[in-house]
């Protein structure tokens, strides 16, 4: 037992303040290391994919108690708890590696049901709404389809076939007379389950990979108006201008006087806005 028997009342103020300062300083240093640990852990490696319904990484680390109940209820042994030093994710938190075992997208989402704290959000009731990441065809130099062969495996294994991944036909410039069926991921449908990455036939790394959306997606530039999707929205919302159709005063070469569906003749030079070309159109039946 301690040799000295102190009573707090007899402890002099100086001693108390000194001890408090020492403890506070020690705790500050220790706390800085701990905070360093805690914030470093947010740097989730891109290949470590959180279970369906996982909150954003920062919130997830406040919510996950690392009990592993999601791992236990995963029927396909997809999920594992991160081990210190081996896996980059915060120690003890659940994740999966798509190339090893992808998410099978169970309809009842047992991992979310098992989570006691809400680190996996119970709001997720339809697995098709899951957002574990986004498939990206990351190596077009090796992808067999991109080379002009017909592999199609990633397209065929996709649980959201023909929606999350489609095969877009394009010209094969190399052969000059074949097609390339390009696997194309659609971000609004892809759940990031990783079945495409798992099944890619290439040895070693997959040509298509699940990446976190924060890495995989660019942010749309709102100041560019896509006219074909959004015709003249800025003015129409404010005032109602008459739509300006091709007509007098425009440089409509075919029908300078206005729109005529069957106009085939030479523009009339006398018309307002017209002009006198120094050549003649072949179809006009002029000098040939």
């Amino acid at each position: 037992m301690s040799a000295t028997k102190r009573k707090p009342s007899s402890m002099d103020r100086r001693r108390f303040l000194q001890d408090s300062a020492r403890a506070a300083a020690g705790c500050t240093v220790a706390g800085m290391f701990l905070a360093q640990f805690a914030t470093d852990a947010r740097a989730l490696p891109p290949q470590a994919i959180r279970p369906p319904g996982a909150l954003d990484e920062k919130e997830f680390l406040a919510a996950c108690i690392r009990c592993g109940l999601c791992v236990r209820d995963c029927p396909y042994d997809t999920l594992v708890l991160a081990e210190l030093g081996y896996d980059g994710a915060a120690t003890g938190t659940p994740f999966f590696t798509a190339r090893d075992v992808p998410c099978e997208m169970c309809e009842d989402i047992p991992c979310v049901a098992a989570c006691p704290t809400g680190a996996l959000d119970k709001e997720l009731t339809n697995i098709d709404d899951a957002d574990m990441g986004l498939a990206v065809l990351i190596d077009e130099e090796k992808c067999l389809n991109a080379l002009g062969l017909r592999c199609d495996v990633c397209y065929r294994v996709c649980p959201v076939i023909d929606e999350a991944i489609t095969l877009e036909r394009r010209h094969n410039e190399r052969s000059g007379h074949h097609a390339i069926f390009m696997p194309t991921v659609h971000s609004d449908k892809c759940t990031g389950c990783g079945k495409c990455e798992k099944s890619c036939v290439l040895p070693g790394q997959s040509a298509i990979k699940i990446l976190p959306r924060r890495v995989a997606m660019a942010e749309a530039a709102d100041h560019y108006k896509l006219g074909w999707e959004d015709p003249n929205p800025m003015v129409d919302d404010i005032i109602d201008l008459p739509d300006r159709l091709p007509g007098p005063g425009t440089d409509n070469l075919v029908a300078p006087g206005g729109y005529t569906p069957d106009a085939t003749g030479i523009p009339d030079a006398n018309m307002d806005g017209g002009f006198s070309p120094s050549f003649s159109f072949p179809t006009a039946g002029g000098s040939n």
Binding site: F37, A38, L69
Partner: protein, 307 residues
Amino acid sequence: MSAKTKLPVGQEAIEEFGWLRAHRFLLLRRATQIFFLSLFLLGPWFGIWWVKGNLSGSLTFNILPLTDPFILLQSIVGQHWPETTALIGAIIVGVAYALIGGRVYCSWVCPINPVTDGAHWLHEKLGMQKGWQPKHNTRYWILGMVLAVSAITGSVAWEFVNPISMLHRGLIFGMGFAWAFVVAVFIFDLFVSRRGWCGHLCPVGTFYGLLGTKSVVRISAVERSACDDCMDCFAVCPEMHVITPALRGKDGDTPLILSPDCTNCGRCIDVCAMDVFKFTHRFDDTPVPGREGRTRTQPASGASKAA
């Protein structure tokens, strides 16, 4: 120094009552520790899923949720309000430990306890100095620091380093390099600070200690008048300062060990040849006379064993 004072701790009790009885609470404690660990290991090792999860959070028989209240507190401080399941689990655990003694967790359940007990055993074998002994309130500073870091970083901060969950989760789910934290605690207790980790620093134990401040189950020095100052109880007690007020109390003082630091491990009951201590409850107000005077002539040698 007389031959008597050189006796190993607990030797008198062994001679008096036999080895088994002089180790009954130690054996019971080890059995309990193994029992709780086995419950968790039945699933992964033998496919018997009575209990799923680990000490941080578990589900027993698919119905009973249990959550570590300290981890949940950090989560709440880190600004995540948990689902009801976790809250219910934490309340069940919290109420249980508030009744039986908060630090019962430390001595009867925590998987780090055998590690630090082992370190202490080796520490005694090697006859090492007690080393750095942090102040009594250091543990509260650390508890506060952990909660502050949780709040600032918005995370369950202690779980990044907690050797308890590192070891427990490691055994159940896979260890990785988490064993390094366990070894670190062992080495710390062995070379740096005797009984240092569990007794002075661990914020989990501190939290459970506070939880069990008013716990019902308590050890009492009911036969303190029979104490012969052999000091064996002080030597085995991981929180030896808790004994003094009860054992050395005067006639009117309570014989109950009321300090929240007491882990209810029962080792003092084991090693006492005079049968001074016993488990009772905090409302036990049977009057217990204090000691009349020292009955032993050389208490100092015994004290050196403990100090």
